[in-house]
């Protein structure tokens, strides 16, 4: 007798697993304009590249005769796949069963995702939609007993994955509890504006504990979480989230032991962009668009902004110079004058940690007036978060190039120059302990008050001191490497990158300090 009966049962189980939570649950998912996890995985991966792990993990249901009558597959899908030809690990909760709240096999598969990514040293992509644990436990019949005291921490592999491979995540639907925690335990996260909410606990739990009546969107919709930095980016829908993840991945190496892929670059390295000559207004009160500078300097169309909606005075992202990935960090003087706010500092710290983890050279475009001031800034502990960013910069080992575009003041400016940074100043650069407009009123208070025309005296002092903040004396003292015509920025940065590139292999491997969510 052959093994055919068992083989038939394997086939039956595989077929049942593909049915997910059943036709009704799948139809309900679609009626809310949401894809199922299998559809999401297919959309992410190259055609026919999915190699599923644990496809028949689940809970069988037998009749009295011991025959298989139905089958609840694990509600977490996991496997290998390829994105633009690169092998990755992909995983995600199946919302069509138990709302993604982990079943016993689902939980096992979900924690295996990070372990696999670390083991195979390839990027991890998680597509989340699901709630966390239930008081009913994974079986639904009562709380689970915790694992033995000597069981490894479930979160250790989550942290190890972040220190070893790129981790990119998306919130595709409602994400709560553990899945929400894993969503943000990533180097890049994006949420679907039309279908996702991220909530530590849902409306019912919140109302019971806090007496606060809020909808899921009010608690954790995109308007809340793209503005507070819970996720890096928002995208219109699930497809747009997947495109963002693919784009992010294109800048990343497979792991910290490799350098980022270099793409062919058609943008000439010696391109001088004419618009840069007058992008910074001579009138120091007038703002300018730092993103225009970024687009003019880096490889055409290569800037991928991360965290546009929060910490908005700081602009961070990835871009390419001559086809090679670099981290880009500029100030946006149109938002709070580009000053270092608490959330801007948090964003900057994560950006630097990302670059340090994956050995990306950092290019800064500096227009930093200093830490944000005022009562709100004090309430937000700006000085602590800001100093955290400054010390993170000081501890990095990757190469830095800093372009002094305009202002560079105070303690906060130090965050924009890593150790041994290559510093080039535009003629519009000005620097010092603090901007003259504020500093003069304090340092020369008596002199101004006693002058016959205090306003005129203040202006005279401001003009005198502003002249001393010019970049020429700094260049004379070799406090900057060179003064440049802004149009030369791209050629100069490309030359710098060619010089530092041979140093990058020595930086590979785990970083001295880990990236934190």
């Amino acid at each position: 007798m052959s093994w055919k009966p068992e083989i038939d049962e394997i086939k039956q189980r595989r077929a049942l697993a593909l049915g997910q939570g059943g036709p009704d649950a799948v139809a309900k998912q679609h009626s809310h304009n949401r894809l199922t996890i299998r559809e999401r995985v297919n959309q992410l991966l190259d055609v026919d590249s999915f190699e599923e792990l644990g496809p028949v993990a689940g809970t069988p249901i037998y009749n009295d005769k011991g025959e298989l009558v139905s089958y609840d597959p694990a509600n977490f899908i996991l496997g290998f796949g390829k994105v633009n030809g690169r092998r990755i690990i992909v995983g995600g909760e199946d919302f069509t069963m138990r709302g993604g709240s982990p079943s016993p096999a689902g939980l096992r598969k979900s924690v295996y995702a990070e372990e696999l990514a670390v083991q195979y040293k390839i990027p991890l992509i998680r597509l989340h939609e699901g709630s966390g644990g239930s008081v009913g436990g994974t079986s639904g019949k009562g709380p689970n007993l915790p694992g033995p005291v000597n069981a490894p921490s479930r979160f250790r592999s989550v942290a190890q994955a972040m220190a070893t491979v790129p981790v990119a995540t998306a919130a595709m639907g409602a994400v709560a509890g553990l899945p929400a925690g894993r969503l943000v335990a990533s180097h890049f996260s994006v949420m679907s504006k039309s279908t996702a909410q991220i909530i530590t606990a849902g409306p019912a739990v919140v109302e019971r504990a806090m007496g606060e009546k809020k909808t899921k969107d009010e608690l954790g919709g995109w308007k809340v979480h793209t503005k507070n930095g819970t996720v890096d980016n928002g995208a219109d829908d699930e497809s747009a989230c997947i495109e963002e993840i693919k784009c992010f991945l294109s800048y990343m190496p497979d792991n910290v032991y490799q350098l980022a892929p270099i793409v062919e670059c058609e943008d000439p390295v010696d391109r001088c962009e004419e618009s840069l000559l007058e992008v910074v207004p001579r009138d120091r009160r007038l703002a300018f668009e730092m993103r225009k500078v970024i687009h003019a300097v880096f490889d055409e169309g290569s800037f991928f902004e991360v965290g546009k909606g929060y910490g908005r005075s700081q602009i961070t992202g990835l871009a390419r110079l001559n086809g090679q990935t670099v981290g880009v960090w500029g100030n946006d003087c149109k938002f709070l004058a580009g000053s270092m706010t608490a959330d801007g500092a948090h964003k900057a710290r994560r950006f630097m940690e990302l670059c340090e983890t994956f050995s990306f050279p950092i290019v800064t475009l500096v227009d930093e007036p200093g830490f944000m001031i005022g009562s709100q800034a004090e309430r937000e502990a700006t000085i602590r978060h800001g100093t955290s960013a400054v010390l993170t910069a000081a501890m990095t080992t990757v190469p830095w190039a800093a372009i002094m575009v305009r202002r560079s003041f105070g303690v906060a400016q130090a965050a924009h120059y890593g150790p041994e940074a290559y510093v080039l100043a535009w003629p519009s650069a000005e620097s010092g302990p603090l901007p003259v407009e504020g500093g003069v009123a304090v340092a020369f208070r008596r002199e101004i008050e006693e002058a016959p025309d205090p306003d005129a005296k203040r202006r005279e002092l401001e003009e005198m001191l502003a002249a001393k903040q010019s970049p020429f004396p700094r260049a004379e003292a070799l406090s900057v490497h060179d003064l440049i015509d802004p149009r030369e920025t791209r050629p100069e940065l490309c030359k710098w990158l060619a010089r530092v590139q041979p140093l990058l292999p020595d930086l590979l491997g785990p970083s001295a300090f880990a990236i934190r969510p």
Partner: protein
């Protein structure tokens, strides 16, 4: 009806329109002074200023509605 909400706090440095004015898309409506820098706000669409909630010299906060265009 489009509400022009403020992206940051600051003070109203120059108010360039009055209630009832016709405005064109891209026209500067007012300029905030934020951290000693001028931050212009432009009309996102053409229309009429149907309500004005700010005056020159006002101290304003993030998310305040400055004016409405109908």
């Amino acid at each position: 009806m489009t509400k022009i909400e403020l992206e940051t706090g600051g003070s109203v440095w120059k108010l360039l329109v009055a209630e009832g004015d016709a405005v064109e898309e891209g026209q500067t409506l007012f300029i905030l002074e934020v951290m000693k820098m001028e931050v212009p706000y432009e009309a996102p669409q053409s229309g009429t200023v149907t309500a004005l909630h700010i005056a020159e010299g006002d101290s304003v906060a993030e998310d305040d509605v400055a004016l409405e265009i109908g």
